[in-house]
């Protein structure tokens, strides 16, 4: 085998950041520039700002009314009105106007009585400076308005212009150059069609979007192949550009094609290789030519940790801005989640409110899983010394979305069905959009979640051979004592998903025992697996005789994709999955897919919206259009013994 790298000892992120700050001279690296004040929001002052004009620059009326000399009104009182002549005793003023010479108070228009002929009467005296905004009351010329290193807000822009400051000195924006690497990596800009083994480069654009939020600017190169000479040249070019930060995408790990650490060492100095954080471990930090070098892992989940935990604080520090931070909330963890000792784990969570409590479903942790990133509302850091999170443990989590958005999250745990995608999209089309966060753990997993109180509803399709009924026998068994309402989503067709044209001529369940047929199964607890086991038993086929019985996937679409790509010859699943991928379908059974809702949630506005939607004509038409569903019961309340007939 060819030469491999070896990680230096992994170090905590904080220590890596400390090394980088110690190695960089930010005074030399990031200078200041002058910008117009009206465009300065989001920038950081590089020098103190002193007011040029006072505000107000003159004594001005704070109310609409009349300007008077207070002294001349002292005799007015209730029942003893004082008569004021226009142009002598009073002058009309609107808010903001300067006080006419000789006046020092304003009486509100509501407090004067108009005489015929233009004179006025008042029944209370004014005191000096009443309803007057005095010179410099707000800002005094020459005074400090903003100190150095102050992050400028929209409000500050108003203050600067009011004080006559038209331009000011701010720190230069940080400039980042991102160099994606890898033979297998395709440039997204070419709109490529990846062949097997190839992937579309996207980390550059994730960083570009993040950098924009940090107030930094990013440019990127086309992907550079795994050739040390070419990567080194690209890094050298970036170092020669105006960028203060150079990030090399992928190649920072310990594989045979990971050249980045060697290149960094040749061009400058490696400060850290391997961080005690998961994902994100294969992060590399170095310096060269006084600039910051970062090697970012290739997996999206790892890259994001590198971007947010390493790059973001260093970019902020270089630009004298506060490091980006997230709001924290307390969440209840709904599933025991072990964590490896020795590295801080960044665990992403799907979070929805159930009553007052934020319930957090830990998402999977494959660093290559992009949907873990897009589906998460929060993340929790499991410390390096912790063995993980317990079920029902309350932890402080960092929000990835605005807190009010959690109020609109509907947490579903249970079986996967393609109609849930329709539901999800339709719920987001409501006046008050609802976000369906779905954890696909199978029907029994859904019932377990209801029992634990960690889901608002569960989608289940569990056939009970003894009674011939669906779902209710399982509710009695798994949710004794829990009052629930059961609403039908659809009757759906389950069958064998086979390649288009059905090349192996699979006709029924017996064909799964054939030597030349590879199967792909669903996970334990899935209603579809229970259905398979029932049909295998009926047919007298032992599971061990089904080749691939032990291979598990978590959704209908996932098993269908295995059939599509030839990694399996058959799978049990729903017709709509076969149809979506252009596969053939051999019907096996019809089953009832219901939504089980604890009765205590049926008054919740989100659940009411859900039920209302299930009863709406447009949704039913969309379900029918999917194929493989029947909708006579959709949106109806189910009762024991109804079977498929309603």
């Amino acid at each position: 085998m060819s030469k491999r790298n070896i990680y230096l000892k992994t170090i905590p992120v904080a220590e890596a950041l400390e090394r980088a700050r110690a190695a960089l001279d930010r005074e030399a690296l990031v200078g200041s520039e002058t910008v117009p004040a009206h465009l300065a929001a989001g920038r950081v002052t590089a020098a103190p700002v002193h007011a040029r004009l006072s505000s107000p620059a003159f004594h001005s009326a704070a109310m609409d009314g009349i300007a008077v000399k207070a002294e001349a009104t002292f005799t007015a009182r209730e029942g003893h009105p004082l008569r004021l002549e226009p142009g002598r005793d009073f002058f009309p003023v609107n808010t903001g106007q300067p006080l006419p010479g000789g006046t020092d108070a304003v009486i509100k228009i509501e407090d004067v009585v108009q005489d015929p002929g233009g004179a006025l009467q008042i029944e209370a005296p004014a005191f000096p400076w009443m309803h007057v905004r005095r010179i410099g009351q707000d800002i005094v010329a020459t005074e400090l308005m903003l100190p150095q290193n102050h992050p400028l807000s929209a409000y500050d822009v108003g203050a600067l212009l009011s004080a006559g400051i038209w331009e000011l000195e701010v720190w230069q924006p940080l400039r980042i150059c991102f160099i994606p690497t890898g033979d297998e990596v395709l440039d997204f800009a070419t709109r490529p069609q990846p062949a097997p083994g190839q992937v579309v480069e996207s980390n550059s654009q994730v960083l570009a979007a993040l950098a924009k939020n940090w107030g930094a600017r990013m440019r990127w190169t086309a992907p550079v192949p795994d050739d040390p000479e070419r990567i080194r040249r690209a890094v050298e070019e970036a170092l020669a550009s105006e960028a203060q930060v150079v990030v090399v995408g992928a190649g920072s790990s310990a594989g045979t094609r990971d050249f980045t650490s060697r290149i960094f060492a040749e061009l400058g100095e490696v400060l850290a290789h391997g961080l005690a954080v998961s994902p994100g471990k294969p992060t590399l930090i170095g310096t060269a030519a006084g600039k910051l070098l970062v090697g970012a892992p290739g997996y999206p989940g790892s890259a994001i940790v590198c971007f947010e935990e390493v790059l973001a604080p260093l970019v902020a520090w270089l630009g004298r801005a506060p490091a980006p931070s997230r709001e924290r909330i307390e969440v209840r963890i709904t599933r025991k989640t072990p964590s490896r000792l020795g590295a801080e784990e960044m665990l992403r969570l799907a979070v929805g409110k159930i009553g007052e409590e934020a319930m957090a479903v830990p998402l999977g942790r494959g660093p290559g899983m992009i949907t873990n990133l897009t589906r998460a509302q929060a993340l929790v850091r499991v410390p390096a010394g912790s063995e993980g999170l317990e079920q029902d443990e309350r932890v402080s989590a960092e929000l990835l979305v605005p807190a009010p958005l959690l109020e609109s999250v509907l947490v579903h745990v249970g079986s996967h069905d393609n109609t849930l995608d329709l539901l999800s999209n339709e719920l987001m089309g409501r006046g008050e959009p609802l976000r369906l966060v779905s954890s696909n753990v199978g029907s029994l997993g859904g019932l377990t979640a209801l029992r634990a109180g960690s889901a608002m509803f569960a989608g289940v399709h569990l056939f009970d051979p003894q009674s011939g009924d669906f779902n209710f026998p399982f509710l009695e068994k798994y949710l004794p004592g829990l009052e629930v309402v059961v609403v039908n989503l659809a009757i759906r067709h389950q069958g064998l998903i086979v390649p288009a044209g059905n090349p192996k001529n699979i006709r029924d369940i017996h064909d799964l025992a054939r030597e030349d047929v590879g199967f792909i199964n669903r996970q334990r607890g899935a209603g579809t697996r229970i259905l398979l086991d029932y049909h295998l038993k009926q047919a007298g086929i032992a599971p061990a005789r089904v080749r691939g019985y032990e291979r598990e996937e978590y959704t209908h679409m996932a098993v269908a994709v295995n059939v599509l790509t030839g990694s399996a010859d058959a799978a049990l699943g729903i017709r709509s999955a076969a149809k979506a991928l252009g596969l053939d379908f051999v019907p096996l059974a019809r089953e009832r897919y219901d939504l089980v809702i604890p009765a205590r949630f049926t008054e919740d506005h989100k659940i009411l919206t859900l039920i209302e939607l299930l009863q709406s004509e447009p949704l039913i038409k969309q379900i029918d259009a999917l194929g493989g569903y029947e909708t006579p019961l959709t949106g109806r309340i189910m009762h024991p013994g109804m079977g498929l007939e309603g």
Copy 2:
């Protein structure tokens, strides 16, 4: 007097928003557009997005190592290694590479032992699909990736590109046109020098900066004079442009020059005039040509409430985005703050952490006060039915800055001094910047704040005629039993601030009793006022003989500005204030300005930094350069009886 408008009945903000949403047809007003996926972060999907590619699109190695057929490894166990031949039994793979045909598992490189000659040994079997990322495990082609109305994050951009989505349908950005109005309003772009009665227009740029944060785009016109015809023409032009929202700045109030409501009524319909919120009451909402019309108040504080409470939620609603929201924290109110019944009051707060507690100093409430906006870290809503906030009341406040920033706030309450500006700027230049939030309420006010526990330190300069000492006699009286440390900031010169050239020939305290001399005083409790009273008493002058004794300002600079603009002939204040504004100065006394720090805070890292800074040469040089200060004691711990000698 000319014709005035009358407010329609004021209504709560929520009701005004409801009226606007009911009157607008957002389907007609805001359409969709196609944007490249890599530029879509921050936008909102206008249609569901389905995956085009699966991810992974092939079975791929999840680890660096060797790909094997699991079945062929079942005999390997500890002590009984299995020998694997390259190219037959195993194939080296790096993370992300496709599995070679016939293999279905990956063994980590750490778990193999190299034989000489290229063969390997393993001591544990692989199980099928071990360390393999299976096809579609993350994203399955054709599946829903994102529903409609989904706000796109940086993560989503990565997911879109990975799934082969190069462009997508998003809602158009909202376009706002802002029309400033007012005869007295000057276009900031001309860099004007305002004459008395004129102000620089700045609200347009505050809104532009806010709108950018909302993802909206704003253009603005030059200020339009108070001429109904010209304003109407400007509104008509804006309505004919692509803007969906037209905002008229100022002119929405009830003054004689407030034409906006009439113009809105002529062009369309007024939906609300006058909101039950303070500041922000003179807000006007209407529609014309299917577009949203808003009349924004002219005062900066009122305009911002209109922008953030009215425009922001409507712009978000039109663009199908979540309304901007703020993090909430519990704060303790440090000063009783009455509020008027009948309107919700938006009260801005300076907030700093003292220990674990966030202490909130209510800032003044003049809607014209720009510094109330720039100095605030939070705001609290006092409900319409509340009479205000009690001292020490704990309330939920909305943060205007990131929460971690509160940890860096040093809360000072006490006397104002120009050296505090220097301190403030220098503290922001530290490695970990500290933000000085200063409430200028005079020396006695500072001691009161220390007693209430609502400040970390107080700047005081209180002369005790009986002992001839500074500050300590007052500490015994006002802070009995509180252990404090007293550190000198500077010895400073107090004297009479008079116009340049001293036209009225003011020589000493006796001149303040002259008929032709107008004085401007400091507020009760200010050390400077106590000093004045002492010198008046020494000179046998009754306060009533000083013309202007009752006119109060809160800072040295504010009294100096009164002298500068001729609204007073003399003030008692510090030399640096006179110097800053080019005024003359008649010395009267030297005094010791000390910082009083409760002993329990002296271990706080912020206080330690402050004391360290006071002892630093560069700061002392800057204080000396101000003029009117002596620094032999600066940074030294003071003890009773030291007077000015140390």
